[in-house]
Symmetry: D2
Subunit: 337 residues, 4 copies
């Protein structure tokens, strides 16, 4: 069976997923697209054969030739499309963030709980990175004891002009919100955002930030977000346990020795760093559609990340420590890990 995928939103990430579904992964075919910019939708559709251009995302979801939907549109539109997919009983892959607020995300939880089965996979691709998978295996294996601290850094060389201050929380730190929950298998309970001396490259955006997260077990997480650090895209995570630590390892294709330096190249951007994770993530989704069961990051994971983001934004704007208040976890998500 070839899964016939409809794609809503064909900007940079949407086009990248289409490339992946078409030329890299097994078992899927893109059959329909829509975009807020109809001309862009037509251009992207024209690059392949048999791709229908729809006027709206809802038309994509309603299309009988569409088995499953990939939502890569602007975050504010996710709620409408994902809820429509759930109501249509169609599997949906939704790029992060699930929704721009915990409240909106909570309504998607309601919809899926009402549907009575998981239909949503959220695009937290790091859970498919070999480094993060190995990290989690060590933490879960118990050889370093209970996790007490996590040290994270999330660095981008530059950001696009449309990057505004809040995005350091909602677009950047949100990846670590999910990673921490997943690595430690527990919820985040409070967020404090500190504002260090600003980077001269940062313009109006307060950059870097230093976030402090607390978890249910009492673990503390410090998280640096730097989005103008020029030298490369660099992701660092170390979990400190009672008996030892585990951190993401070095991944350097080569070591060059020249002119007094032994050096390795650093990834230029997230596409390069997480290329394989994106591939594995989306292949798992296609396979899950065939198997009939959603896997991976869930609506609940998206909801929790959104509520933590809300707390992060409050702390960023007002200062101080902001507790995170999650609703009770519905039974639908209890068996996930």
């Amino acid at each position: 069976m070839t899964v016939r995928v409809g794609v809503i939103g064909v900007g940079m990430i949407g086009q990248d997923h289409i490339r992946r579904l078409t030329g890299v992964l097994a078992g899927a075919r893109v059959v329909a697209v829509a975009d807020v910019d109809p001309e862009r939708a037509r251009q992207v559709a024209g690059q392949a054969i048999g791709v229908t251009v729809h006027a709206t995302g809802l038309d994509v979801i309603a299309d009988d030739d569409v088995d499953a939907v990939l939502v890569a549109s602007w975050g504010a539109t996710h709620e409408e499309y994902v809820v429509a997919c759930i109501q249509a009983g169609k599997p949906v892959f939704c790029e992060k963030p699930l929704a721009p607020s915990g409240e909106a995300a909570g309504r998607i939880v309601d919809a899926e709980v009402a549907a009575g089965r998981r239909l949503v996979q959220l695009g937290f691709m790091r859970r498919y990175d070999p480094g993060y998978l190995a990290l989690r295996e060590v933490v879960a294996g118990g050889s370093i004891g209970a996790a007490l601290l996590v040290h994270c850094a999330h660095r981008n060389p530059t950001v696009q002009p449309h990057y505004v201050a809040d995005m350091a929380i909602t677009d950047t730190a949100v990846h670590e919100f999910d990673v921490v929950r997943w690595l430690l298998d527990e919820e985040i309970t409070a967020v404090t955002v500190h504002r260090p001396r600003p980077n001269r490259h940062g313009g109006d955006v307060q950059d870097p930030l230093l976030l402090l997260l607390e978890t249910e077990s009492g673990a503390f997480v410090d998280l640096e977000t730097s989005v103008n650090i020029r030298y490369g895209y660099d992701i660092r995570t170390e979990v400190v346990g009672e008996d030892g630590t585990v951190e993401l390892g070095p991944v350097a294709p080569v070591v060059v020795r020249r002119e007094g330096i032994q050096g390795s190249p650093i990834a230029a951007d997230w596409q390069e760093r997480f290329e394989k994770a994106y591939d594995v993530e989306l292949q798992h989704w296609i396979d899950s559609v065939v198997a009939g069961t959603a896997v991976g990051p869930s609506t609940w994971d998206g909801y929790a990340a959104a509520v933590v983001s809300d707390a992060g934004l409050t702390s960023l704007h007002r200062g101080g420590r902001v507790p995170v208040a999650l609703r009770d976890k519905p039974g639908l998500y209890l068996k996930d890990r």
Copy 2:
């Protein structure tokens, strides 16, 4: 277009390629198989829908529903199948080695030259490994000057019971024969095989070996092959230039600190180490079938490796330095790099 692939030989590597074509890569479907063991062929075919089992490899090639052929049978049979593919005008991916001798490989060269176009891609997967690609880019870029020396180690933790002494040359060292030719963009001109103190785990097989290769430009290559070294699968390559060096970098998913040691896991076997290279290799082949042009390691590359292997076997058995005598390179292969 979905490429319909016939697979000849469904042992370990053949089955792995079928898994890849079916569930990992885009654009291909396995439609026919054959194996020297008909029962095994039936079992493998039974795991998917619409796969025809043929009595012989030649029947696979003759099948009109087969667009392209993947040869993963025993090395001694490659010549027959690859030549038949060439004569049938069907693209063929052939696992290494191309043939068990330079003479046999030369006949495949003759067949392809007679056909007047490249139809063969040889399974030297390292050319698709990110590490080797980066290594070659640095060497070709000139920043370390001309390559004067190459240091290689090729280590397997254990080998299968059927591994006999000659395979240290024909199955193990052959990868470096190709890698050196490709990295330095020149031919190997002589081989000397030394026999160090044997590993107690090696039984009757002389292990390790220390090979010395010489190239057209006068570069020297030392190559350790160890096939019983227990600790893991480990591939090391360093190119020493006039002004600097470049070597394969560290690829460790995590670093664990426990009990006085900071350590990283080592790959268990070649499947793990070169997983991505195998994926990229075969996707390139599928894409080339669609595009109508063979790419990557050529019949000439397989021929040159086979002639170097012949020299290596002579040196292994009789000792001393054995020159490598290649025929003139046909024009068909001149544009390759």
Copy 3:
């Protein structure tokens, strides 16, 4: 000239310095000792020829045969001995901490300012470590831009039974208080101490701690102190600038590949990790005594660290962010960097 050194306090660190002065470094000789435990003083003195045992530290200082004094007694006694040395005009090397409170340390500042010249070198040995020296050179060189963040970890496998909760600030974190001031060339302005989930090995001691330091320029420092982490003694420091970062590098004598792991030994304790730093530190002191000018970490550095420690203790006990209030820096210390 051979510097004749009197040593006050011959516990573990005192004995180690005597070993160093006697058998490792050039230009010094131990001629007198005193200890709160007279028997221990006699034993240590008995291991060499010509070492006088005095009843008290003040007697050591008063001894005409003593050119310079090394204070390695309990921290609470430092003020008395260092002030006496200053008043006697004798150069003094004082182990850290300078004094158990900012107030006590301030009185030593007063004494030295009254004397009108620097006589004190404080035992912040990390300033002599090749790694820290290289770190500081990169930061000062400007190639990574202004320092915005510093990430530190200070880990001990275990601590002695007499280690109590406050020592995580006064004995452990105090090293980073000094290192941060020295690396960034500015003062610390506030301290916040967080209490993560406790290590089960920690007994009554709250361990680990996560400290947040702020500096004059607005840089933020996160500092993990772990003193029961079992796996080894591990010190990590990374300075994050506007354009790049610099961190302490790997220092592993060997890499061993065995049983699926490539691993390097981790230092067992601070003596091993900072062996060379201790040697260089004390040789600099001896040389400075000969040259007639105190060098290295000053009384001011000890005072600043003590005031930051005071703030750290307040935050540890009461919680929250505690500002650091330093007196004006006397001219005597202005030229130091």
Copy 4:
């Protein structure tokens, strides 16, 4: 007791040892010097108090105020001075090489055997490097099984104008001749020197070389010597055993991330790389003089290295494999390891 040292030869290395004896190490004092250039001897002596300048090295040895002698003159003069020290019963530290030929070195062995006790320590400083010590401990510990192969590289960025072709054997490779003997605790039995494509920076000197050494147990050693490689001073050694490997680890004070590269500085020269080894080496010598027993690399080690060098020179000039023929090992050296 302060050892009164006479230094013969006050060129670069001699002056460096004087600096070390005077200002770095404990327990020694330089009291006499001589040099082939009397003016240079006077200048060096003038930098300290109480240093006698002698007309000849023999006068230094005969000086009653000289307890022990350090020979750092030109290699061709070592035999005369070391034999004179032995005959005078004075401990002597002799820079490598012991003598310019196995024959000359053999005469020193004869002299010391006649004296009936070890008086000579040879300046193979690598035996005191923490990396090499750890390497040897792992090999001797047996955890990687018997040593089967050793991979070595010895790289200098540039060499002095007086460096001639033979010195690649007698000055450069000689360090590995000793290291291999010491790591594997056995003698080298044959040498083959290969001449790769020459480095364009090498002028008349054949550079690099690729040496192949064989040992009594059948282990093979490949050794690259590169003396014009520009990028830095780099020493690499990996011992390959039956069950694993051990190699010199990374020693980088810092890692800097800037402009797409994560890089560490490489040592500029041997003084920087082996600074600590030189210090420890010479302190051991001073301590051994006080203790009355020579330690460390012996006359036999110098003799064996000289005979291997002879074989290396023969292979360099005539080509081919040259066996190494050592005399029987005198009982005086049997207990050394």
